[in-house]
Symmetry: C2
Subunit: 326 residues, 2 copies
Amino acid sequence: MTNKAEQLSVLFASHLENYQLVLAKRLPTSLYAPCIYILSLGGKRVRPLLALAGAELFGASPEVALDSALAVELFHNFSLIHDDILDNAPLRRGQPTVHEKWGRDTAILSGDVMMVQSVRVLESYSSLAYYHLSQLLNKTATEVCEGQQWDMDFEKNDSVTVDAYIQMIAAKTAVLLGCSLQMGAICANASCDNQLALYEFGLNVGIAFQLNDDLLDAFPGEGFGKQPGGDILADKKTFLLLKARALAEGEAERTLEACLAGKWNGSEKIDKVTAIYRELGVDMLCSQLADEYTAKAFKSLDSIDVPDANKDFLRGYAKHLLHRQV
Amino acid sequence: MTNKAEQLSVLFASHLENYQLVLAKRLPTSLYAPCIYILSLGGKRVRPLLALAGAELFGASPEVALDSALAVELFHNFSLIHDDILDNAPLRRGQPTVHEKWGRDTAILSGDVMMVQSVRVLESYSSLAYYHLSQLLNKTATEVCEGQQWDMDFEKNDSVTVDAYIQMIAAKTAVLLGCSLQMGAICANASCDNQLALYEFGLNVGIAFQLNDDLLDAFPGEGFGKQPGGDILADKKTFLLLKARALAEGEAERTLEACLAGKWNGSEKIDKVTAIYRELGVDMLCSQLADEYTAKAFKSLDSIDVPDANKDFLRGYAKHLLHRQV
């Protein structure tokens, strides 16, 4: 992490803390305590940091984007509360999820109220900036809901294409990165062309990030914290699995289908599947595709009409994201 | 129903139908079909009608408020989807609820996406009008979530005061009536004072309406469609029950507590409880309080600075609401 990322993180952390104090005064406590709780579970705060950096890219002070940064973090945390219900997840960052701690009903309602607050914190901007910021956030929110539904639909669908998968991960996670950056750009009064180029940068970094994430699950590098092979054990339709099913023939196809039919479990299943992935070269294909999206992202960043030195931080931060998990 | 109400209903129905066609083109269908479904279950469309009437009160064409009317109806239907999950309700208007038909997860997500759309349909307005409209809708949305949580909290709380109850019904249902009217007024460029007076009218009509609803559950008039005594059988903390518990002494208190402890069931329980309500006069107190809120509402309408004839429709429509169920 660079010094700049540290600075922006500290700036945002203090803004978020003040907002949590505001929420702590609201009633009923039973509705707002879960909001404060999930915000306090931490995280790398990637989205708010992108919003602040998006403003700074255009020479503005990051402070102008603080409420936009708060908006995207609130929206992200709303989606975590509801997604955890959908996934029946007991834990988030090692702590009980909101629905585990307060029950399903309060988790639904606290999520709802947090989504509304994500737009309300934008009311500090001028009416014109508010119009653009909340329009972008609501478009993105719509896509995130759509992406989440696609993801659920894919679980029951045996003919998901790689293209549909990319569209799903774009909607479910990458658009919010683009949105965060563009909101920062809006706060800095950037031109429409520059705003859109920055959005494209975030979107493509997000897709590359997700493809990397798929790869790291099957082939974890050193110091990778997540339980490796989780996607394989859950038969999750990642790029690797979809591509492998499209390419596998003969023995490889039979073994892969037997894996999906539950013939092997645990590390044996992981070993069989990763061997097929390597044999078919889908790990390389995934890595190549991630590189293509990364190249597209950097080309988009290059096209933005500001001094090149302004882009150093985002370039470095994107590289950092694409090599480490957040 | 007056001719005017009929006209406004037809105008809104056609606008809503067009919007449902827009939703029908969006993907994934699995996300939007539940939205289209719940919107097609009908209802009296009280809130959109108030939005249209709110604009007309100030001499504007009701057409200017069509997207505001759509916004409040979308928001209302979002809240129905999520509330039905909270209530484990199998039916709405005699049809399966969204979570019954599509499952809990899709019901959560379809509700989420519909809430976002309720603000997005306001994007057709100028940036300044959008700023005011969405700010009001989001403030109201926050209160509705709070009201719903208060309601859930009250179920487990044995010391709910009448004042807290009034605050809860105001937040849960009445604020959206005030909001609908004020949004219409904003579309008609009404002054702030006029806007607020119209909001107060809607808020107080809403509270009076809810008190009437409590009364009608225990003492249904002729032609009342709902199963009478439902609140009593469910030990629901209505105005009547809260006031009765506050006033009951001696034999009445013992009988009431025995009813709540489950000593009697069915019509026997309803008869015992309603007898106590009459004995203590809480039916009269409820009716008087509803009348006070009604008077406050009409006083607020009177104060609005437009020709008195413009107010005829809202006056008549409010009377209609306060004497019939919607």
